[in-house]
Symmetry: C2
DNA sequence: CCCTCCTACGTACGCCGTACGTCGCAGGGA
DNA sequence: TCCCTGCGACGTACGGCGTACGTAGGAGGG
């Protein structure tokens, strides 16, 4: 009966939090729920974690650490940047419910630095150094953050958000919008992601010399 | 004594919510607090608003409606795109605590459509039509969303997040990062915004043909 | 054998959103 | 005039939240 139940650990707690976040989203996380899923008393968690906020931070970092190295067979810096961007997107798609967390938080961990270093290497290959490289990288990060936020915030709802959303406004007052209402009402995330990516790369080429 | 106190109204409630959000952020909003600030009983709010979630939605839309028209003296599409982007940024900076709200939500109101229409007009000027224009616009929106999220999420804390964040990781393991650690630790939001903006415009020029 | 310390846990407080029932009042028919 | 009806304001109550605090029990060192 009193079998040595697995003792509480910061790791075990963070793991449970990550699983819960991925299953039901951040808003489902509560100390009571987490504890009961671990078969422990609520307040026992506080022996390993100072409060809920840092627990969520830890979970975010753990998820961030799931960023995987990517591999490309090419000497072209463009291919490296593409691969890096796609890797970030894969991370976001692997953890759609948790991505808002990563986006909100300022990541300071080693995993974050690995990503930064890899990005800087790619920009270095393209001939960008110093503060310029940082600026370009941040523009890229902003784009990724933005598209992926839009993508993961949109996808959990059934694919077609479509026209029902716009039903109550008089579209005819906006002629240009009316002309592309079909495109406005649908999302092809793959294609849109690549489209923006190529746009940024084209800009980079322009600024290269 | 029984002076005709202002009666509760959906408008008055939403106004109070907007003010509270701007003052202390979304997480400070609670039905009890809102009611007490209005000098009303908590449950009275529910006569005008079905629940808290839609109240927050209404507040977000009200803030979105604060987007202001911008004016440019130029025939160059680049200047129009710049002006539009800066206007969005101004909106974000006027409502830093509320911007996450706007970013998260899918805006369906008329105000949203006005913005879309204006953007499409600018891309039309640049020679982009149809699905291509929508793609370019969405890339632009993604960039704006990303930078502004980063900017407003960063600014409320004292300006210098700086090196303390990175203190616990061994930077020497990341040579490129180490070389620009000063730039990584500081943010010049004005300059970074413009930098990314010009990068996108350069990309657009490239795709224009 | 005892003392110390660490961890698990229960209780309690002050918040939260909101379902539900009541009360008072304004306005309209008879 | 009186009464009825409907609506807005409000109190109470329930279940859930984060967490401060006190306690108990067991492991390990003296």
């Amino acid at each position: 009966m009193s079998s040595t139940r697995e003792p509480l650990t910061r790791d075990r707690i963070v793991d449970a939090a990550v699983r819960l976040i991925e299953r039901e989203g951040v808003e489902a996380v509560s100390m009571r729920r987490l504890a009961s899923e671990l078969g422990a008393g609520t307040m026992s968690l506080y022996n390993h974690v100072p409060n809920k906020a840092v627990l969520v931070d830890l979970a975010a970092e753990r998820i961030m650490a799931d960023a995987r190295p990517y591999h490309v067979d090419s000497d072209d810096w463009r291919d490296h940047i593409r691969a890096h961007a796609r890797a970030v997107r894969e991370l976001a798609r692997r953890h759609p419910r948790a991505f808002v967390l990563l986006a909100t938080r300022r990541l300071s961990s080693e995993a974050g630095f690995r990503t930064i270093e890899a990005a800087l290497l790619n920009f270095d290959r393209a001939g960008f150094r110093g503060r310029i490289a940082v600026g370009m990288m941040r523009a890229m990060v902003s784009y990724l953050l933005g598209t992926l936020m839009r993508e993961v915030a949109t996808s959990p709802e059934l694919g077609g958000i479509a026209l029902s959303q716009y039903a109550d406004v008089d579209v005819s007052a906006f002629p240009l919008s009316a002309g592309v209402i079909g495109e406005l009402a649908t999302y092809d995330h793959d294609q849109e992601f690549e489209c923006g990516l190529e746009l940024l790369i084209a800009g980079l080429e322009r600024y290269q010399s």
